[in-house]
Amino acid sequence: MNATSPERRWRADPAARLVWRRWGEAHFAFDPRSSQTHFLNELAVELYSQLQNAPLTADELYRAVLARHDIDADEALREALDATIMVLDRLGLIVAT
């Protein structure tokens, strides 16, 4: 099962306790566990925010983003979403349930 397989559910890691700062569309998140500062784009922040509310699969996240922004299916968005999930996983900000 890969990172964005249909069965895998993701949630924001509650242990992260990130500290946030935003300037325009640039978001910075400080992770006290690693002392790393992450630069995140709008999509990453939106996915992270959704996953703070409830565990979701990549498909559910994709549908939630489409619905929230009232847009049609978009292959490029889907690819960006899958890539962003992998980045958030690699940074330790989200975990598989």
Binding site: V19, W23, G24, A26, P32, S35, F39
Partner: protein
Amino acid sequence: MTAAEKRTTLRDLPREALAQRLARGLRLHVGPFVVCFTARDPVLAACLAAHYPDYPLAPDDSFADARIALRDQGRWARWRGHPRVISLEDDGNFARFPAEQLLAQIEWGLNWCIAMRANQYLMLHGGVVAREEGAMILPGLPGAGKSTLTAYLMHRGWRLFSDEFTLLAPDSRMLQPFPRLIPLKNESIDVIAREVPEARFGPRIPNTRKGLVAHLCPGAEHLRRMHESAGPRLIVFPRYVAGAQTELSTVPAAEAFAELTNNAFNYVLLGAQGFELVADLVDATRCYRLRYSDLADANAHLTALMRAMAD
């Protein structure tokens, strides 16, 4: 520290008294820190008297934030040209160097002590100068021209805080002066000697690990005010570009934040507090990038910018 102690500077010590105090540990105020120098060899006394005369003395029993000792050397070793050695708190050999590099090694040793330990401050890698309107931070990687610019500005109406250490107090969010000798390197030495004829230099020290180095001594007025902090107003990322017209361009806050955090002494060590401090600093200031080749013109632009911010 009492007012009387603040007024007594190294210049006021007779030569014999300086030698006696050095033998048991001479303490000087250097910005918010007390530095203890120890040596029996008169070469350190001569060096301090020549290049640190306006630094205030601190009481013998005051806590020393940094300790720098010059090891004794016998006449035979001196005659043979053996390297000199300075040690810090751990009493190990911190640096071995030719005798003529003593001044540079003292300054580098003090840099090391402060960079490693002064974590009561957020320490960014950047010069700081101030006018009545507030302070301007000049961050930059080595070679960006921040020391040269700082050296020029301190002779042209700006108060020297530091050419290298930006010290931000977490509670007050004020910048703390840490005025030191400014080590100019290679071509910068002649540039400042030409542009600032009144500049007071230490000896030219060739063949250091940074090439030719000469130290510029801050004037007594900068040292008299070393305990007066200032609020940050401007962050200017300088870049010397030969032949360039002076150009100031705004830097987006996010970009400034990223650059500052990538060029700090203890940002990671301070954890979330460091993140908040840098972010608040960016929010409290306006950020620019400066390309310059003409120091006087750069000063005119920066002075006008600072004045405009105060209006």
